[in-house]
């Protein structure tokens, strides 16, 4: 008798819970996605009107959303699972960067030797300078690994950081910082030091600030977008291959 009643109970309650969950999840997804879009578009509009550098739509939207989550006591996990649609579009958006790359393929293939050389030097500088400076100041191997990998795109950096026993949370944080830093001050700083060619600016920002930098400079010109996407790919491949060797070598000195 007891078995039958408990079975009956579970049959009665289960469908109810699933429909409730589904409707609330659909609604919260809609609110999270629409809210994010509205905030982003509002900041983008403000930036166009006021033309101030720090009104970067990505950065300001992130800060605004963090404030809203803290204020309303919403956990990041519940926001993220509701805004999954935007995050899922990240992959196709990165694929779309192949278009500017295709348009400049001819000039790029002519200069492939100097491009690979400069990006190899860049990757070496990124890893070595970050590792040594962090070891000297903080003295923690896991943080040093995390910061050495901050210039490459998130999935690759996280994978390598895990493999080398780095701190993946700090890796993720430093990647975002490096991305915004290059995206915000990169073009102006490069123009200031007389690096004015869109090719050189694109390569530098793609190498230092990965996809966040590339997404930002894509709005300046097609040439920026092409060279930045190229640097994004090539730097990621180079770093994936050389970082384990270099980090193990450097770690033996400390």
């Amino acid at each position: 008798m007891v078995y039958i009643t408990s079975d009956m109970l579970s049959i009665k309650t289960k469908p109810m819970m699933i429909t409730e969950l589904l409707s609330s999840h659909l609604l919260s997804s809609f609110i999270a996605v629409a809210g994010t879009i509205i905030i982003f578009q509002f900041v983008a509009m403000l930036q166009r009107k006021l033309n101030v550098i720090w009104l970067q739509p990505m950065l300001i939207s992130i800060l605004a959303l963090i404030a809203i989550l803290l204020w309303q006591d919403i956990s990041f996990d519940s926001y993220f699972s509701s805004a999954w649609l935007l995050n899922a579009l990240l992959e196709p958006a990165v694929v779309a960067l192949g278009f500017p790359l295709y348009q400049h393929l001819a000039t790029i293939t002519q200069q492939w030797k100097s491009i690979i050389l400069v990006l190899l030097i860049g990757a070496l500088i990124a890893i070595i300078s970050s590792f040594i400076i962090t070891m000297l100041i903080i003295g923690d191997y896991t943080i040093a690994v995390a910061l050495s990998l901050k210039s490459v795109t998130t999935p690759i950096a996280i994978a390598i950081a895990g493999q080398l026993d780095g701190n993946t949370a700090i890796t993720a944080f430093a990647i975002i910082l490096a991305g915004f830093f290059g995206a915000l001050v990169g073009p102006r700083w490069l123009t200031f030091i007389k690096v004015k060619s869109p090719k050189a600016q694109g390569l530098a920002i793609g190498a230092a600030s990965h996809a966040i930098g590339t997404a930002t400079v894509s709005n300046i010109s097609y040439e920026h977008a092409a060279y930045s996407s190229l640097a994004l790919i090539v730097s990621a491949v180079i770093t994936a291959f050389i970082s384990p060797v270099i980090i193990n070598l450097l770690a033996s000195f400390f």
Binding site: T36, I37, P57, M58, S61, L65, I66, L69, Y79, F80, N87, L90, E91, P92, A93, V94, V95, A96, L97, G98, Y102, Q111, I115, V118, I121, G122, I125, A126, S129, I138, I143, L147, K150, T153, I156, A169, I170, A172, F173, A174, I176, L177, A178, G179, G182, I193, K196, S197, K199, A200, A204, I205, A207, A208, A211, I212, A215, T216, N219, S229
Partner: protein, 122 residues
Amino acid sequence: MKAFNTKVFHALYSAFAIFSCLALGKLCSNFAPVLPASLYGLIVFTLTLHFRLFDADKIKNTVIWCLKHMGICFVPAGVGIINHFELIKQFGITIVLITFTTTFILLSVVGLYYQRYAVDKD
């Protein structure tokens, strides 16, 4: 009406092109996990356009729109910083300073080197 239909057709065609390249990218990263699927997809997309498997003219407008708005896709992941407040409190300023300095060095070296040896030479 006809112009609208062409627009819709071009958008669908572009979505098909991008998603099929992404699917191939997923396949590649499954067999050779050196790069993430999206970067393989980017390479496949460039190659399919180069070898005219997809018509670039039909894709152009949609891609311009995507590139203009792609920044929004980084927002949800960026909000994830919220989970690392403890870490940031502990090492925050040092990490920020090191990241800024090294990013600055990297930007300058790559930019100056390429400008001097590749661009100015031409």
